[in-house]
Symmetry: C2
Subunit: 286 residues, 2 copies
Amino acid sequence: MTNMDKLYESVAANGPVCVGLDTEISYLPTTDTAKTAGENVVEFNRALIAATKGVAGCYKVQIAYYESLGLDGMRAYAETLKMARATGLPVIADIKRGDIAKTAEMYAKAHFTGDFEADIVTLAPYMGLDSISPYLPYCKDQGKGVFVLCRTSNPGAKDFEYQKLADGRHIYDLVGDSLTEMGKDYMGECGYSSIGLVIGGTYTEEATAIRAAYKNTFFLIPGYGAQGGKAADIAQYLTKGNGGVVNSSRGILLAYKKQPGVAFDEAAYNECVRMREDIQGECNKL
Amino acid sequence: MTNMDKLYESVAANGPVCVGLDTEISYLPTTDTAKTAGENVVEFNRALIAATKGVAGCYKVQIAYYESLGLDGMRAYAETLKMARATGLPVIADIKRGDIAKTAEMYAKAHFTGDFEADIVTLAPYMGLDSISPYLPYCKDQGKGVFVLCRTSNPGAKDFEYQKLADGRHIYDLVGDSLTEMGKDYMGECGYSSIGLVIGGTYTEEATAIRAAYKNTFFLIPGYGAQGGKAADIAQYLTKGNGGVVNSSRGILLAYKKQPGVAFDEAAYNECVRMREDIQGECNKL
């Protein structure tokens, strides 16, 4: 059973909410000045994970927020991965690494074993398929998975990703097609391969076509809430409410700011429930 | 004076060799079993930096090799950056990060301040120009610099980078053109902007055109030696021996294997001198 299979089962059981632990120290309602920034972030994450584990489909940890705190932050990163994985839910390390094969081997070792071990990692495709291949032995042997950047919904996505190629496809189509082809050799029991794609949850015009083109590809869908993605849009990228996880980071971490008098962890739980109902409600309408 | 200016001056004084500290534990001729892998790597790097500082144009530290050792490796990474920067030579952190603006802000903070501070970082362009912009305030205010992936020489580069767009350009042309345009607002005294490009040192057919198209753009040129780039090829990407730095990692770190009876640090020094003469010799022929 692959980690993509586990993700599929978790979405079926708990819904598609991916809790993004992009924890910036300024998000914490209170801090303990006797502790380092990283230690404070760990305590916040610990409470957040405990509160949301029944309503999250998975966790995603954005490593940049931890790198920004230096060595103290990297310790917090390792500890956060450990806590999140202890829930039994799949944990995605949002690292977006992309480098030549020899270097990619090092990144694969870094993020699929040891202190920074995660279940699934995100990758960047620019340098080509040989920058993805070194992660695949871990998919084959240990059930690990990858989500490769394909079509994101940040304003800059139009600069390169959305550009048209000579054959009429967008760059993101070429990336999506190539990775889907590669994924055929890494198919899980659930019908989705261990090579997933990052597909932004906004811009609906091509959503149905994208979902139909990549039937066996699991999607990591950022953009809900803070980035402007609506549940009705996002439902188009799912198949009967599965085949994708929908990330929210600030929407969940900072939910307490919109729920006066409610503790941050309880507010995060409430927001996960609300978000899940919002998305599943739209899925049921399709 | 920007870090790209410092790099230009260093290449003029010391030559274009970029010593790549992609140090894998298996590269070390001997290890001290009382020390951690990271501590052993630091001692190797310390000797290597001491031996090569008179013949290196700059240092480049590939973070993947350090990440692969977990927290121990990240301590070695911080220490290696510190030792390399203490030479006064510019130090490039080869991190190839690329993410949405808010996350890129975190990466910029991570790698331009604190434990992991470097002078220049490498970036990946796939997500667009808003994934590059957050690094630019550091270029403006503190003279930091970036090298953005453009046209690499790994086999997979043909999968996406070399594909043709509807307008006849390659994807790498669009990336190079866009970043060069962006760089106009970040021009240094030396005539090169703080936004450089990563351009592989192999495949010569378009080398002259690329150098001519990006006159004010400094190149980080990987691919010498181990990856098949020859000095005659690489000279085409330089302008009178400057405007670029040429990376060699394994060629320098493992030079001792081709120089029996010579200590690893002395062998590395010899290889830097040989490589510099090789490249400068070809530059003088042009």
